[in-house]
Symmetry: C2
Subunit: 152 residues, 2 copies
């Protein structure tokens, strides 16, 4: 069987993940921890509850990830100014710089990849991928709703 569009899409994601893993090997960073840093860079200082919601993981999981990132000097925990139950997580300067560099690498990679596509194919490619992502999002959401319904 010839690979389908979906197969090519999944291949891209597999390659990307493999490269991430390689890039972080030998450091204390992992894909999950980087997702936390990435989110903090985009949102700014956040409570652990906010991180858990955005990442769609449990509060317990966030505790562990923040523990590790705090130990490695990537984030700081500080008390919330008004809610004494809550903890605010902030990127350290070094981590903020690192994330800025990562973001710029990411943008550069996107350019490099697009550069491999014939110029006249670029616009339809972009439209096509956006359409596929939207359709897939609908399908997944419908499946999740159906699952939630069945569980009642």
């Amino acid at each position: 069987m010839t690979p389908t569009i979906l197969d090519h899409l999944l291949l891209v994601s597999e390659l990307f993940q493999r490269d991430m893993a390689r890039a972080f090997a030998g450091t204390t960073l992992t894909a999950s921890r980087v997702r936390v840093l990435w989110l903090l860079q985009h949102r700014g200082p956040s409570t652990q509850r906010e991180l858990a919601q955005e990442l769609d993981v449990s509060a317990r999981n966030v505790s562990g990830l923040v523990d590790a990132l705090e130990a490695s000097g990537h984030v700081l925990r500080s008390p919330h100014p008004t809610d004494r139950r809550a903890t605010v997580v902030t990127l350290t300067d070094a981590a903020a710089e690192q994330m800025a560099a990562m973001q710029s690498d990411h943008a550069q990679l996107s350019v490099t990849l697009l550069d491999a596509v014939a110029p006249q194919d670029r616009e339809p490619l972009e439209r096509g991928i956006v359409a596929i992502a939207a359709r897939l999002a609908e399908l997944v959401e419908a499946a999740e709703r159906a699952g939630a319904e069945a569980a009642r």
Copy 2:
């Protein structure tokens, strides 16, 4: 910032993985175990060493995955006919059927997704994705070679 092509690609893969996880929730199957089954369906009966090589994971990891799949009735272990060190892993009939159904769902999904793309965009889309996957594969391979070189 507007999302780049790469962001859209990664969104597709994230949605896909989320749907996989949802589909297997409540069963003993997981993404890793399904990868083993998928591979067995494509390769036919294989030794654990072959599985470890194809999946690019450790022998230990394969032992655990096969243990779980054997317990759940998805695979059988049998002695290798000529090499008494090796174990041959085979899909059970039920698992083979299940994988055939999954493969057909996968093909169907690919059609459904392509259906969301404007007809005149489909060919350039496909060409574009193939080009991106190829370029990314080059980049990742080069990075891996560079890393291996640096480690010497």
